[in-house]
Amino acid sequence: MAEELRQEVRAFLVDALVDLPPVRRADSWMGFDAQFSRRLGERGWIGMTLPERYGGRQASAFARYVVIEELLAAGAPVSAHWIADRQSAPMLLRYGSEAQKERFLPGICRGESYFCIGMSEPGSGSDLASISTRARRNATGWILNGRKVWTTNAHRSHFMITLARTQEKTTERHRGMSQFIVDLKRPGISVRPIRDLTGDEHFNEVVFDNVELSDDELVGAEGEGWAQVTAELAYERSGPERILSCMALVNTLIDRVGRSPDALQARELGRVAARLFTLRNMSIAVTAQLQAGENPAVAAACVKDLGVTLEQEIPEIAQAIDQMEPSSQGSDYAKVLAHLTQLAPSFSLRGGTREILRGIIARSLELR
C-alpha cells in the first residue's frame, strides 16, 4: 500500500520537477512554490494523516512519511506548506478546539494555508523558556507585544503559532507560557525578512505591537505552552528533513565521481549510503512512536543530532574526494556544492542546536 503510494509520488515528481535544476533541488524544504503546494493538496498529500472531516485522508504516519521523504529526496519545493503539514496541523489536531480545527485544517490540507513558528526571540535562542513576548488579557481577549526572530517563512505565511508568556515569570520558568494562532495580516504586526549569508530570504524578524487576539486564538490550555511546544518539537526533530538536506549533493557527487570510483571515493560514498540507510530507519522508528501516541523526545533528539551531523559532513566529504571548486557559476555539481557548503551551518541550528539536543539526551541518562 505505502509502496504503491511511493511509486505514485515518484511518477508525479518526475513530471512535475522536470525543469527544476539541481541547485534548486538543493534548497530542499526551503524551496517555496505555492502553486506546487496546491498541486500536492489536490492530490491529498498534505495533512494526509488528518481525519477526513478536516480535509485529510486518515492515512498512516508511515504513508505520510513515504510522501514527504520522496518529496525531499527529489528536492521538491515544499517550503510553503511544510511547517503547517509537519507541525501546526498535528499540534492543532491534538490541542486545538473543534472550531480551530474546522477553521484551519482544511486550508492546510488544500496547500493554501501556510504557517510559521514563532519561538526564538532576539534574547531567547536555545534558552526558549526565557522568552519575553507577552500576551496580556483584556476585556475581549489578549493583547500581544514582543518580537520574534529567525522565523522561517513569516513573510510568506498566513499564520504564526506564537509562543508567548501569559503569566509573569516565576521560579518555575517553564510555566506560564501559551501558544496562539496569530493571523499575520492583523494590524500591529510588521515582518522584516533577514537575508542569510547566501543572500536568500528565508527567515524574518516579526514585531508585535499591541496586536489584538481573541480568546479563540489561544491554542490548548493557557499556561501549558511549554508542554505543547516540547511535544511539537519531536515532530520537528525526527523527520526525513534531518537526514536528506544534502541529497542533491550526494546525487551530483555520484554523477561526478562516475562508475569507477577510487578506493577513497568508494569508501566515503559507501559510508554515506550506510548512514543514510540507518538514520532513515531510526527516523521511521520515531514516526511509529509518534503515531502510537508516545512522546519520543529523546529518540527524536538522537535522530536530529546524528542526521544533521551527516548532512554537515557531506559537503566536507565532497571536498575530500573531489577537487572541483565550489562555484555558483560552474557545473551543476559545483553549484550544488557551493550552495550546500554555505547552507550547512544552519542544519544544526534550526529546530534545536546540537548542544540542546545532547543536553536532552544527557538528562534521559540521568546525568543532569
Binding site: G270, A273, L276, L306, A362
Partner: protein, 352 residues
C-alpha cells in the same frame, strides 16, 4: 518468545559470566558450566526449527540473544553456535550439541566427500565440536568434525578470543549439502551480521558503565557527569549506541529469509563507527583506572576493537557498498535506500 529469551539469557549471563570467568577463559579455560547451562536451557538451538528439536525462534528473535552475548562479553562461541545451528537448520540438517562456528575464511576443496584445506580465524576452533564451512564449484555447505582436523594453530584476536587456524587433510565430511537459498556463497555477510549485533550489545554495556562511572566519580567537588562537557560526550555515545542497536536489529529482521546485504553492511559500518567513537569516550571518561587490566572496561572496548575488524572492517564494507553505489549510478541510490529487504545483486557479488 522474545521476552522469554531476554529474561532467560539475562539471568544466565548475570549469574555465570563474571569478569573473573572471562579472565580465566582468556587464559585457556573452557567455561563448561556456562556452556551446559546454555544448552540445557536450549539457548544454543534457539533458531533451530522445531522439527529438529529446536525452539523454532525467528532469526529476529535470536537477535536478542546475540546482543546479550555481546553485552556480557561471553567467553564462549555462543553467538557463533546460534548462527551455525541456524544455517544447519536452513540447510535441512539436524542441529548439533556442543560448540559450533562458521568458517568464513577458507580455502577448502571437497573430493568424494573428503575435505582438504585451511580454515582461518575460526572462533574457538580448539574447543569446537564441528565447523560449518563452504566449498565452491558448485557452492555447497560442508560440516566438518574438528576431531578429524590434521592440524590446529592456536591464534587469537585483539581481545584474546580464540581465532584458530584449522587444517584438514582429506577429512571425511559429516555433511555436504547445497547452500540454503538466500545465503550467499561466502559467510562474510553472516559473520558481519553476528558481530554487528554483539557490538550493539557491547556498546550498550559501555554506555551503562560510562554513565555509571561519571555519576560516581567526584572531582572538583562534584560528580564528573555534572560537567556539561562530559554530558555532551556521553550523549553522543548514547546516540551511536542507539543507532548501532537499531541497525543490527534491522539486519537480523531483514535477513529472516534471504541474507540482506545492504542492512548488514550498514549495520557493520555503523557499529564500527560507533565502536571507535564510544570506546574512545568511555576510556576518556574512566581515566587511568579504565586502562588497567583489573578494571572490566577493556573486556568491552578490546572486543569492540576486535569485532569491528572481523568479517569485514568499516573500510572493507564501505568500499564494497560505495562501489555498488557508483556502479549503479545516482538515480539508483534512492530506490536502493528505500527498498527495505532485497540486497542488490552487485553488492553481494562485487568483491574488492
Amino acid at each position: 518468545m522474545r521476552d522469554l529469551f531476554e529474561t532467560t539469557i539475562e539471568r544466565i549471563f548475570s549469574d555465570l559470566v563474571s569478569p573473573a570467568l572471562i579472565h580465566r577463559c582468556a587464559a585457556g579455560v573452557w567455561p563448561s558450566e556456562l556452556w551446559s547451562t546454555l544448552e540445557e536451557a536450549e539457548m544454543t538451538s534457539a533458531a533451530v526449527p522445531e522439527v529438529f528439536g529446536g525452539a523454532g525462534a525467528t532469526w529476529e528473535d535470536t537477535f536478542t540473544l546475540v546482543r546479550a552475548a555481546g553485552a556480557h562479553a561471553v567467553p564462549a562461541p555462543f553467538a557463533d553456535t546460534l548462527l551455525a545451528n541456524w544455517l544447519l537448520g536452513r540447510a535441512g540438517l539436524q542441529p548439533t550439541r556442543g560448540p559450533l562456528a562458521i568458517a568464513a575464511h577458507s580455502q577448502l576443496t571437497c573430493v568424494n566427500g573428503h575435505a582438504s584445506g585451511r580454515l582461518e580465524k575460526v572462533p574457538w576452533g580448539r574447543d569446537l565440536k564441528r565447523i560449518v564451512a563452504f566449498v565452491t564449484d558448485p557452492a555447497r555447505l560442508i560440516v566438518l568434525d574438528t576431531a578429524s582436523a590434521a592440524q590446529l594453530e592456536r591464534r587469537t584476536n585483539l581481545a584474546g578470543e580464540p581465532r584458530d587456524t584449522v587444517v584438514f587433510d582429506s577429512a571425511p565430511a559429516i555433511h555436504v549439502e547445497p547452500l540454503p537459498s538466500g545465503v550467499p556463497p561466502d559467510f562474510l555477510l553472516c559473520g558481519a551480521m553476528l558481530r554487528s549485533a554483539q557490538m550493539a550489545g557491547a556498546l550498550q554495556s559501555l554506555l551503562q558503565m560510562t554513565t555509571g562511572y561519571a555519576t560516581e566519580r567526584v572531582q572538583f567537588g562534584k560528580p564528573i557527569g555534572h560537567f556539561q562537557v562530559i554530558q555532551q560526550q556521553i550523549a553522543v555515545m548514547a546516540e551511536h549506541s542507539a543507532c548501532s542497536l537499531l541497525a543490527a536489529e534491522a539486519a537480523f529482521a531483514e535477513s529472516a529469509s534471504d541474507i540482506a546485504a545492504l542492512p548488514i553492511m550498514a549495520a557493520k559500518i555503523c557499529a564500527g563507527e560507533a565502536a571507535s567513537m564510544c570506546a574512545s569516550t568511555a576510556h576518556a571518561v574512566h581515566g587511568a583506572i579504565g586502562f588497567t587490566e583489573e578494571h572490566s572496561l577493556h573486556l568491552k572496548t578490546r572486543r569492540l576493537w576486535a569485532w569491528r575488524a572481523e568479517y569485514g572492517s568499516q573500510a572493507y564494507w564501505s568500499q564494497r557498498l560505495g562501489q555498488t553505489v557508483c556502479e549503479s549510478g545516482s538515480r539508483a541510490l534512492w530506490p536502493m535506500l528505500t527498498q527495505t529487504a532485497k540486497p542488490t545483486t552487485a553488492a553481494t557479488e562485487t568483491r574488492s
